[in-house]
Symmetry: C2
Subunit: 337 residues, 2 copies
């Protein structure tokens, strides 16, 4: 298997990308390749001695930044790490592409270069949703599709369930629909219709859930439109930062509290670790004809390494083909409407 990493994406590229790749290379046999400005990447690799010989580098002379209009950038920057990388996946020269670069460019590139799986209307960005103190859920959609039709939510749930089973190794995962109440008949035109479709599916659908219950680990797959999903993931992140900020500020306020914080050092760093998204690896773009994992722009080396570890079952378990095979079932539910 060849795992292809975007050396230029993210706030701390290429340093942390290289560091994460080196950490993974120590543990796995699969081939790791980094694409981007070759000289810069090689300069970083030089620090790591012989292990770096296990990592291949492919040059790409251009870069797509977060400020660029994504569609135009993907159309014009043919020698960027993102465009060249996705083309390598398309041409079977790589099995999976990992990038902490522009989300917009990766979505556009996923759609235009890899292309949608036939029968899938809207590919979805699926984010591992941290549930503090418990195993994480998977949130679909996390922002790829701000406006959705009911059938899109059925697609998201189906693709999310496949990824959860194959990559996160949870059998028969439960699916919950984010709604503004759990009582029957609650919801918008969209959620009411999606509820009907999900009820007809073979998914392990548990019904409507409220955002209040997400941190109770109420279900494995959290299904919602990309606008709400975006608000959920960003609010969760913001709340996590706030909690850490407020604990720090207050716990350092007096001599007595500082001593208390010292005694609680282990517990506080445990909490901090759980709020750290890096632990959970990247977000797959499901529904395109190839394996693509988007990493957070602020990813550190650990996040890069964890995403590489997730990329292996993503490829080995044929997630893309399994999604392809699920299309008929989705279509039958939609046609029966």
């Amino acid at each position: 298997m060849r795992i292809l990493l975007d050396g230029m994406g993210g706030d701390h590229a290429p340093e942390v990308i290289v560091e994460g790749a080196v950490a993974a290379a120590k543990e796995i046999k699969d081939k790791i390749t980094i694409i981007g400005h070759e000289d810069k990447i090689r300069a970083c690799l030089a620090k790591y001695g012989t292990i770096s010989e296990k990592i291949e580098v492919i040059d790409a002379s251009e870069e797509i930044t977060n400020d660029e209009a994504p569609v135009k950038a993907v159309r014009t920057k043919k020698d960027s790490s993102i465009v060249k990388g996705l083309n390598m996946v398309k041409n079977k020269e790589a099995d999976v592409f990992l990038s902490a670069g522009s989300t917009g460019a990766l979505l556009a590139g996923g759609l235009f270069i890899l292309g949608r799986i036939q029968g899938i209307d809207r590919p979805t960005l699926a984010t591992v949703y941290p549930v503090i103190g418990m195993q994480p859920s998977l949130l679909v959609d996390t922002g790829a599709n701000a406006e959705c039709k009911p059938g899109n939510l059925l697609e998201f749930a189906t693709m999310g369930s496949i990824y959860m089973e194959k990559v996160l190794k949870r059998e028969n995962p439960t699916v919950g629909l984010v709604n503004n109440g759990t009582e029957e008949g609650k919801g918008t035109t969209l959620t009411k219709a999606a509820y009907e479709l999900l009820s007809k599916s073979n998914l392990n659908f548990i019904g409507s859930i409220e955002a209040r219950s997400l941190q109770d680990g109420i279900c494995d797959i959290i299904v919602t439109d990309g606008f709400t999903g975006n608000a959920i993931i960003k609010l969760t992140e913001g709340m996590g930062l706030m909690v850490l900020r407020e604990m720090k500020r207050r716990f350092l306020s007096t001599t007595k509290s500082k001593l208390g914080a010292v005694l609680l050092k282990d517990q506080l760093s445990e909490i901090k670790k759980e709020f750290n998204y890096a632990e959970y690896g990247g977000a797959p773009l499901l529904g395109v004809k190839g394996a693509l994992l988007k990493m957070h722009g602020s990813s550190d080396a650990l996040a890069v390494k964890q995403t590489i570890m997730k990329a292996i079952p993503y490829v080995e378990e044929n997630v893309v083909d399994t999604i392809q095979n699920s299309v008929l079932e989705i279509e039958e539910i939609l046609i029966s409407e």
Copy 2:
């Protein structure tokens, strides 16, 4: 001024309603009346000695529960505390009605009994949104309108700004629109159109905001549709509970950490207090022809008292009339489209 309290609404009625009313009666001169099963309320009041003589009780023989279909309940239970209470506001026998009862019944009652202010398409439930370590924001809409038109968001922002100025005493409050990105052109059909309308208004509009920034106190008025608003308030509540649960679990795990927790007692109870919604008082239903405050079902006596304290400026500052006077301005922006 006569402040009218629903004695029967909420998880701990009538005990906490009476307790909160007694606490407020010690501080204010305004007349407090409790409506509901008279014998039950009087039995609770008896505990509090002479102060209870300041509190009047009006009998209502029926109750509306959370499980009932709200519209039907409001139409048929004429002698319920909610229906009778709202009719008293309508007939100027009371100046404001406070209830921790069924949200659905209060919304239905607000619309059918008090009626919409002429020119307001959709009244909004405005919730004080706690920002830990800072002054709170106001979130509109919090669930009264799951599906919205762009003009509704302009209404929510206008009414929320008026309530913020008059009741929470913040001058020229800033307004932020919840969106899936802050870059220009980001958003759904709804948020893009609402952005245009808000830009044309005289409100202190600061543009699109991301849910990530809500806990930074980014703006005074957070504007969004009721579906997203519901998800935001419930996720915030769920995250708060989770943080308290996880801190407790971990801090009590070893003898050393227990000692640390003892030293941090003040700071931990400060954090707990800030996560306690009770501190912030009830949510007004803005846009109806009368003052109505909805309290959380799990409100304790402190929440009841705080809501009574908010009810006073709500009435004294003529929030309802001020909203009535803002309608023309809203209509002019909508017509210019």
